[in-house]
Amino acid sequence: MSLLSLSPQAVATVAFFMVMAVTLIGALIAVAARNIFHNVLGLALCLFGVAGLFLYLNSPFVALMEILIYVGAICIAICFAIMLSEPLYLPRPPRSASKILGGVVGAGLVLVFLGLLTRKTQWVPAAQRSTDWSVTTLGHYLLTNYALIFEVISLLLLVAMLGAVVIARGGRGSS
């Protein structure tokens, strides 16, 4: 009952925090867990979270794409790669404290730095803002203003595919 009494905003806020938590926890798992498989799962979790954030940012289409491409393609590919490479049962080397310290310092510095800057910055919205969020417009843009990139991306993907094939096959073929 009490749940119902919450305003939509409150619900959205709570949900937002949950999404945020999912994102961050996923990200942390993705980098902190020692089992590589857990990392992938963490990544997937994080990506789901990001997709959720995209929803909050008014773009269900991109959120969907996020899940499709990232979770559906990239994570799976990573899983395959894991299976093709190092067995999981191998003993893992212990963590190195100094390395972690370095990582924390490096990443922390950037975090604090950019964080402070972000806080200080006064973000100014554009004077005239279109409210056209339709996917149609998106498609229109893709085929007009961004047509070149669109084509280049296709080439890029082709190159990546071919390259992946060539490289992944290469070692085996020669032996």
Binding site: L114, L117, T118, K120, T121, Q122, W123, A126, T144, N145, Y146, A147, L148, I149, V152, I153, L155, L156, V159, A160, L162, G163, V166, I167, G170, G173, S174
Partner: protein
């Protein structure tokens, strides 16, 4: 839309298609493939030269064709062609992948060509990635016992992180300016520089190009990749890739005249550290390509010297030097690939007795290295001096002083190489035979390096005209 505007890109796209078809063949025909490749490359050179004086805008102003871009496209086509001329013995790449090698080389060339014409951030990013990814693939394509993939993965990691950082920076730029078009960013530049996040975004965005140019501190990939990649691939990275990076940096920096004192100082710092570090570390190298990698780091510092002047003369010098660097660096790589016929990594000592084994190559080597060291009468000397002149004209006395002292340091290791090739001898090493086309290539390169060094006016005027189009 005028097809001629997009001519080179289309041509190379077609070439890529041809190579793609070639990859599909079951039985590799190395010789035929190579002949096709060199023909296509030569054709590309012609097409690019033909389109040299095109100018216009394409794709809703995301793509700009002007003398500046066309000169660099020509340079890229030239590099592509030159690298193919020394690809007649791709000893370290399996025969069945030769067609793929040509394909990826073509795609990376396309990427760079797009890069030098792009005036929109996303286009820049994507074409940068296109050129990079093809190279990521080319590097581990080499047949080797581990350093090939090691260098490949290191290249990729550093590249991925750099481009990630760049992208992150671009996002801030986007946030600050609400646009991805350089032409629209330009009017907002003062505002951008006034806001800390904009400034930092710019810095982060430059990271990707610094990575390409192997400017300190984004230089770490260079030695490993130079050493680990096949000689021809390294040659391409060392020539075309550098030229493209210079072009883009120029375009970005030439956007506005008022980057301010501190921005320039930061670049001065990077320039000084780059050249000093590169030169100092190069001294202790034993592998020739690795040495050249450090030399390229040092040269990145020199390029910055021209760029950071933020004046026309500096840009002209930088363009001139980029073209010069392409030719002279290639001269050295040609020697490497001809001497190391089996595609191995060339230790400096393995150059022993080169003057006897192939006098012509040893001459080319000397000319190339002296040019890199900035010894007259070479294109490198003139270029370097023009860079320093423009830096001095902008008041960077200490930068010039340090640059000049660095020239001395660099001479040390170039001379060590010359020492090996010219003085030491190892009777076990066989003579190096070179084919007639390569012989002609040698003569041509020597003539270019020396000729344009003494009579640089044409190139300088061309560069000046080109720079005028981006200002």
């Amino acid at each position: 839309m005028n097809v001629m505007l997009f001519g080179p890109e289309l041509y190379y796209l077609g070439a890529a298609l041809v190579f793609f078809i070639l990859t599909l063949k079951r039985q590799p025909q190395v010789k035929t493939d190579y002949q096709i490749a060199i023909l296509l490359a030569g054709g590309g050179l012609v097409v690019t030269a033909f389109c040299l004086f095109q100018h216009g805008e394409l794709f809703y102003k995301a793509y700009r064709v002007d003398l500046f871009s066309q000169i660099f496209k020509f340079a890229l086509a030239l590099a592509f062609f030159l690298v193919l001329t020394i690809s007649h013995n791709l000893a370290h790449i399996e025969e069945r992948y030769h067609a793929e090698f040509f394909l990826f080389l073509t795609t990376t060339t396309i990427g760079m060509m797009l890069l030098v014409s792009s005036v929109e951030l996303l286009t820049i990013y994507v074409s940068l990635e296109l050129s990079s990814y093809s190279l990521y693939i080319l590097v581990p394509l080499r047949r080797g016992d581990g350093i090939d993939v090691e260098s490949g993965i290191k290249y990729l990691l550093i590249g991925a992180v750099s481009s990630g950082v760049m992208l992150f920076g671009l996002s801030y730029l986007f946030g600050a300016t609400h646009t991805t078009y350089l032409s629209e960013i330009l009017p907002q530049l003062p505002k951008l520089l006034a806001s800390p996040i904009g400034l930092l975004g710019l810095l982060l965005a430059l990271a990707g190009f610094f990575f390409k140019l192997s400017v300190f501190p984004f230089h770490f990939w260079a030695p490993d990749v130079y050493q680990g990649a096949a000689n021809q691939v390294t040659a391409f990275i060392a020539t075309a890739s550098k030229a493209a990076a210079v072009a883009l940096l120029l375009r970005l920096v030439a956007l506005g005249v008022g980057y301010g004192y501190h921005f320039a100082q930061a670049l001065v710092f990077l320039s000084i550290v780059s050249m000093t570090l590169g030169n100092l570390v190069a001294i202790v190298q034993k592998d020739f390509k690795r040495l050249l990698a450090y030399s390229s780091i040092a040269h990145a510092g020199y390029f910055l010297m021209g760029i950071l002047t933020m004046k026309e003369a500096g840009y002209v010098a930088a363009v001139y030097y980029a073209l010069a660097y392409l030719v002279m660096n290639f001269t050295v790589f040609m020697v490497i690939s001809e001497v190391a016929k089996d595609g191995r990594d060339l230790k400096i000592q393995e150059l022993a007795g080169l003057y006897r084994r192939s006098p012509l190559l040893s001459l080319s080597l000397i000319v190339g290295l002296f040019a890199l060291a900035g010894v007259p009468p070479s294109i490198g000397f003139t270029g370097k001096l023009l860079l320093m002149t423009s830096a001095m004209n902008s008041g960077y006395f200490w930068l010039v002083l340090i640059g000049a002292v660095n020239g001395t340091i660099s001479l040390y290791y170039y001379l060590r190489v010359i020492y090996c090739s010219y003085f030491t001898d190892d009777p076990n090493l066989p003579p190096v035979t070179i084919s007639t086309p390569i012989r002609c290539l040698n003569y041509a390169l020597i003539a270019i390096v020396l000729g344009f060094g003494v009579f640089p006016d044409r190139i300088v005027e061309l560069a000046k005209a080109a720079v005028k189009t981006v200002l």
